[in-house]
């Protein structure tokens, strides 16, 4: 701002915007033709409402559907974006999950005449439905978003009906990682906590907040009936290693019954359109004899 070029910045930006919009004409200006989708659930919803072909860039967390990262340029991690990298993909609308950044980069993108919209991500059914509605409106696909929302709402109702039939809630912990003997679990306020609540399971790690390492003693004291883990590769984690006799997890009721549930990370914790299915899958694994199955 101090080292100003000879021409004013405003006229420069106006000119850039004019160039960006001119070839597509007035009608196209209202409906974004090229969308940058940043965030796992954002990308998933855009694909589900049929905006997939209009996506020109995704971020590293856009893991579903798998073709997203295979076919679209990856602009890096959602919170460490590069302004020029994003501009190079030529989007006219950026839809980003809440927390995208750094803020200076978002400011630069807006300065460059791009429309940058962020979407809130509360880990609840209402949060998912709101997200679908907001993204549908931004992409100009309200009808498609409405029908997706109706479908997801119905599935959430099914989840609630199943939850109502649970007689004695089971206890479970969601283990995010087991690196170097540290067991990182999902505590209160985490997406893992939201998912367990949705599936009618008591979070045995409610004593910690967010994703935190939990001590061996606390794990034994929490006495989970089941352990839920992420499956990030083709191989699921093996109960024999997770519940080895000398580990804390091995000394819990879950260990005694070898109850290990492995699910894909984004599917389990992404709070996107597949969340009700994930909740039902989790309930089936934790409550095998639930009436109505």
């Amino acid at each position: 701002m101090t080292i100003a070029p000879a021409w004013s910045r405003r006229s420069l930006l106006a000119a850039a915007a004019a160039v960006a919009l001119a070839p597509r004409g007035a009608a196209a200006a209202a409906k974004a033709a090229r969308i940058a989708a940043l965030g796992g659930a954002v990308t998933e919803i855009l694909y589900r409402i049929g905006a997939g072909p209009r996506i020109v860039a995704v971020d590293t967390t856009s893991l579903y559907p798998p073709e997203a990262l295979r076919e679209k340029p990856n602009v890096g991690y959602l919170r460490a974006l590069s302004a020029e990298g994003l501009l190079a993909c030529g989007p006219d609308l950026v839809i980003a999950a809440d927390g995208a950044g750094p803020p200076a980069v978002l400011a630069q993108l807006r300065e460059a005449g791009l429309r940058v919209e962020t979407v809130a991500e509360p880990p609840s059914p209402e949060g998912v439905l709101d997200k679908i509605a907001v993204i549908g409106r931004l992409a100009g696909l309200e009808t498609e978003a409405d029908s997706l929302a109706a479908e997801v709402r119905a599935r959430f109702a099914e989840v609630a009906a199943r939850r109502a039939r649970i007689e004695r809630p089971a206890r479970a912990i969601v283990v995010l990682s087991l690196q170097g003997g540290r067991t990182v679990v999902g505590g209160t306020g985490s997406t893992a906590d939201g998912m367990l609540a949705l599936a009618g399971i008591t979070n045995a790690a409610a004593g910690v907040s967010g994703f935190k390492p939990m001590t061996d003693e606390a794990i034994v004291a929490a006495a989970p009936d089941a352990v839920v883990m992420m499956q990030n590769g083709p191989e699921p984690p093996r109960p024999e290693t997770i519940f080895a006799p000398d580990t804390a997890l091995g000394r819990t009721p879950a260990g005694a019954q070898r109850r290990l549930i492995a699910m894909d990370g984004l599917y389990l914790l992404g709070f996107g359109p597949r969340t009700p299915q994930a909740a039902i899958e989790l309930m089936r694994a934790v409550y095998p004899g639930l009436p109505g199955e």
């Binding site: 006229s11 302004a83 967010g210």
Partner: protein
């Protein structure tokens, strides 16, 4: 503890070489800067870059290119030049002051203090704001401003700890710096523990540094802090040359030793504080650039200090070009590139030197 200026790899006559070395490094720096404004995720042909730089940006056909070159690449390049120069000069000053080739700007506590302040703002910022009943989110200038102040206050604390009746004990400062570094490291660790998933990733990325998000605003905020340091530093060359002999000897040569130490510490605190504020923690530039130069052109500070500034700027901007090209359209944190490129080069220089010494 280095010997006098009779280094076998040093220049015979540093005074005569001064203009040539500096002219060569200036050319290198300008070439790298030109490279940096020409390359990026968006492909812009060199003639269009040139047209934009020479004032053709008002031409509507060039509007998008002008936007990228003038509002994204140019501030980024200028910020990189300043920060690289500031870090390298700070490293050279510290190595001269502590008479130790392994000294690094981190020794005066700036980086650890700035790191702790940044962690406070990343992890506690929004919570404190909510507690005070103010509307969030925190303005994003809070992070650089806080980091700068944190770095400066850590240095002041360290200086106060090491100064008794007007004399600063450099050895005490070095050890106290390590202790203070460990302490702020522990406090930062505590905040890391209290952080959520996102804040943790913010902390990680911040501690790897990045020039992404360089704006004219950041350039304008860093320039008045870093540029005066770069201008002031060559005047310390004579004093630092005398200091090589030892503090008492330098004093007898008529060097105001205490004032020299104060000046070094203050200048380093400002330059490194501003660098950390502008781009997060970037390692290795302060250590490797002056060291490599010393191996190539000798330990004469009047040449070493300005040469460090030029090479430091060029090195950091080149590292940034690599950082944003290898993973385009994404980008690597720059600290990874500086260490990945800097460490092997440094080892190679060191081993080459050891061989020369063994042969002699």
């Amino acid at each position: 503890m280095r010997g006098r200026s009779g280094d076998s790899r040093g220049l015979r006559n540093p005074r005569a070489a001064l203009p040539w070395v500096l002219a060569g490094l200036t050319l290198l720096m300008l070439a790298v800067a030109l490279l940096s404004v020409s390359l990026g995720a968006i492909r812009i042909p060199p003639e269009r870059v040139l047209a934009v730089l020479t004032g053709g940006g008002a031409d509507p056909a060039l509007a998008r290119d002008a936007l990228v070159v003038l509002n994204i690449r140019l501030p980024r390049t200028l910020l990189g030049l300043m920060i690289g120069a500031g870090l390298a000069v700070s490293g050279a000053l510290m190595q001269g002051l502590f008479r130790n080739p392994l000294a690094d700007p981190a020794l005066v506590g700036v980086s650890s203090g700035a790191g702790f302040a940044a962690a406070c703002i990343i992890v506690l910022g929004d919570r404190l704001l909510a507690y005070a009943g103010l509307p969030g989110p925190l303005p994003y200038l809070a992070l650089p401003a806080g980091a700068f102040l944190g770095g400066l206050s850590a240095t002041l604390i360290l200086y106060a700890l090491a100064t008794r009746s007007g004399r600063t004990a450099v050895a005490t400062m070095l050890l106290a710096g390590i202790a203070l570094g460990a302490l702020s490291g522990a406090l930062t660790g505590l905040l890391t523990y209290a952080s959520d998933d996102r804040q943790l990733r913010d902390l990680t990325f911040w501690s790897l540094g990045s020039l992404s998000g360089a704006t004219w605003g950041k350039v304008a905020a860093s320039a008045p802090l870093i540029l005066p340091v770069l201008v002031a530093v060559p005047f310390l060359g004579r004093g630092l040359n005398a200091l090589v002999l030892g503090e008492a000897e330098a004093f007898h040569l008529g060097i105001p030793v205490e004032r020299l130490k104060r000046a070094c510490i203050f200048l380093v605190a400002v330059a490194v504080g501003a660098s950390v504020a502008g781009a997060g923690v970037i390692g290795f530039v302060g250590l490797v650039v002056p060291h490599a130069l010393r191996l190539a052109i000798g330990p004469e500070h009047r040449l070493l200090l300005p040469a460090s500034a030029l090479l430091g700027g060029a090195f950091l901007v080149l590292a940034d070009v690599v950082a944003r090209l290898v993973a385009a359209p994404a980008e690597l944190p720059i600290g990874i590139v500086t260490a990945l490129v800097g460490a092997p080069v440094f080892l190679w220089l060191l081993l080459g030197r050891a061989r020369v010494a063994a042969d002699a």
